[in-house]
C-alpha cells in the first residue's frame, strides 16, 4: 500500500490555499499553516488507524469534517479581526479631524 506523507499533503494543501486566498494569504498564513498541518497529520494517522482496524470509514469522515469546521471557525475569527482593524482605522481617521471640523463649523458634528 502506498504511504502517506503529512508534509507532502501539507505542502500541496498550502499551495492551493495560497492560490485561492491570493492577497489575503499573508494575513492568515501562520494560522492556516498550523491548522492544515493538523489536518494533514490526521490523514496520516487515519491511514495507520485503518491498518489497525480501530476506525471506520464513517468515523474517519466525521473526524475530517470536525477538523474542517474548526478550520472554518479559525478563518472566520481572522475575518472578524480584519473587520475590527478596518473599523478602528476609519474611526481613527474621523477622530483626527473631529476637533478641527467641529471648531470650524461651530457644531459638535463629529
Amino acid at each position: 500500500m502506498a504511504s502517506i506523507d503529512a508534509n507532502e499533503l501539507l505542502a500541496d494543501m498550502l499551495k492551493a490555499v495560497k492560490k485561492s486566498l491570493e492577497n489575503k494569504w499573508p494575513q492568515v498564513r501562520d494560522l492556516a499553516t498550523s491548522e492544515f498541518r493538523k489536518f494533514a497529520q490526521n490523514i496520516e494517522d487515519i491511514k495507520k488507524m485503518k491498518s489497525k482496524g480501530t476506525i471506520t470509514l464513517e468515523q474517519a469522515k466525521l473526524q475530517l469534517e470536525i477538523q474542517k469546521n474548526s478550520i472554518k471557525t479559525v478563518l472566520l475569527t481572522e475575518e472578524g479581526l480584519g473587520l475590527l482593524a478596518v473599523e478602528a482605522a476609519i474611526n481613527a481617521a474621523i477622530d483626527v479631524i473631529k476637533e478641527s471640523v467641529n471648531k470650524i463649523i461651530g457644531w459638535g458634528l463629529l
Binding site: 493538523k38 471557525t73 472566520l76 479581526l81 473599523e87
Partner: protein
Amino acid sequence: MKPILGKSRILAALLILVLTSCKVMLIGAYDQVTDENIQKIQVEVMTLLVKVERNLDAKDSAANQYVHFKDRYENLAGETESLKVRCESIPKYNIVVEQVTLLQNNLQNLEKYHQIGFRTKEELVPIKKAFESEFAAMITLQNSLKRKKTD
C-alpha cells in the same frame, strides 16, 4: 435661478453627514451573555472529551457507551441552539452566528462518532485538538469585541 449651495458644498455637507452619523461599526458590539455562553459550552464539551479520554485510559469501554452521554449531548444541543437564536438577534453578528452554526455541526458530528463508539485514545486526539482550536478562535473574537467596547 442660481442654486443656494454649489455642488462641492453639497458633497462636503454629505461627507460630513456620513462622517457624523456616529462611530463606524463593521461588526456587532460585545455581548457578555454570548461570551459567557460560549465559555460555558466550551467547559462542558472539554469535560465530556476528558471523561471519554479517562475511560479509555482506564480501559472502561462500558463507561464510554453513548447511552451514558446522551443527556450531555441533548443539553449541549439545547444550549447551542439558544446561543444561536440570541446571536441572530444581535445586529452585525453574522460571523459569530456562522461560528455557532459550525459548533452545532461539530457537536452533531461528535455525537454521531460517539454513537459508533470510541475504541482508542489515538482517535480522540485530533477531535480534541479540533475543538480546542475552534473554541480558542471563538473566544479570541469575543475578546476582541470586548476590547473594542473600551475604545
